[in-house]
Amino acid sequence: MDEQTLEAAKRGDRRAQATLIRDLQDVWYRFSLSQLGNADLAADAAQETALRFLRDLKSFRGASSLKTWSLGISINVVRELRRKRKLGGPGELGDQADESPSPVDAANTGEQVSQLRVLLADLPERQRESIILRFFENLSVDETAKAMNVAPGTIKATIHQALRSLKTKMSRGRDLSS
């Protein structure tokens, strides 16, 4: 994603805008899917994110990377969608959560990825967001803080709590399976 494309997209060049959206569409979709747990809702969230991204692109000043900035938009879209639909975590409805009924069953079958996914779905919203951004999207603590619009110290504490909660639940699951 070069500077010329970004400037052209800011000026309204539709080809440049399409290039940016193609670069970021997977980021928005997989983040939305990890938070909502439903493919259709995630696609809707990605489209809404793209609309707001193009609408607000002129205000992007480059204080963070375009990906970090756009993930901030995606976070807001997902939160609004969840609030509007009165959803809880992604485990409430979801294509991913349906594949593994409970953390205990997932541990028993040895599907560790599915187990972790379910454990993540059980986390509070902010902890889940920070884990996804920090470890799955490879954002730094500062970038995660910018995307979530909080202080870096808050992110550190949130991630610490999330990891501790995951560890506890995993060890509890192992104990139950053994």
Partner: protein
């Protein structure tokens, strides 16, 4: 590496393999070329208005041209010895071209075609024939000669 880290790494690989189903730019109509109708449809009301104005202007101009012809304001005539022709400078040619071989003077219609005037009836007397036709004689007036003789003799002293 802890068990949690290992699981996070595996979940990350799974997470990164997720792709948006389709092309978001196309879904958002960013790359669709504008069709002819997309360009022309917004212009349709303006085209209709423009054509109405053109039609009104054409009707108005044609009417004003007829007025000039009937008023004969800008008519010009040129005379050629032995021939007479009317030339209109407003570009409107006469419906029938004048013939130079026939006289331009209108011919008098034949006398036979004029109806005879009504004749007065001859069998009807012009004067009434009954007694009313005799008028009483007017009263006799004295003669001026007589009046002058008597008056002179009385007024003039001898």
């Amino acid at each position: 590496m802890s068990e949690l880290r290992k699981q996070l790494e595996r979940a990350k690989a799974d997470y990164e393999s997720t792709r948006y189903p389709g092309d978001l730019a196309t879904d958002m109509d960013l790359l669709r070329r504008p069709t002819v109708w997309r360009v022309l449809l917004p212009l349709a009301p303006w085209a209709v208005a423009a054509s109405v104005l053109v039609a009104i202007a054409w009707v108005w101009s044609s009417n004003s041209g007829n007025d000039q012809l009937t008023q004969g304001v800008q008519h010009q005539s040129t005379t050629v010895p032995g021939r007479v022709a009317m030339i209109f400078d407003n570009g409107i040619s006469p419906t029938t071209a004048p013939s130079y071989d026939t006289p331009a003077v209108a011919e008098r219609p034949a006398a036979e075609s004029i109806p005879e005037p009504l004749s007065f009836p001859t069998d009807m007397p012009s004067m009434p024939t009954d007694g009313l036709s005799s008028f009483p004689a007017p009263t006799a007036m004295p003669s001026l000669d007589q009046l002058s003789d008597t008056s002179l003799s009385e007024k003039e002293p001898v």
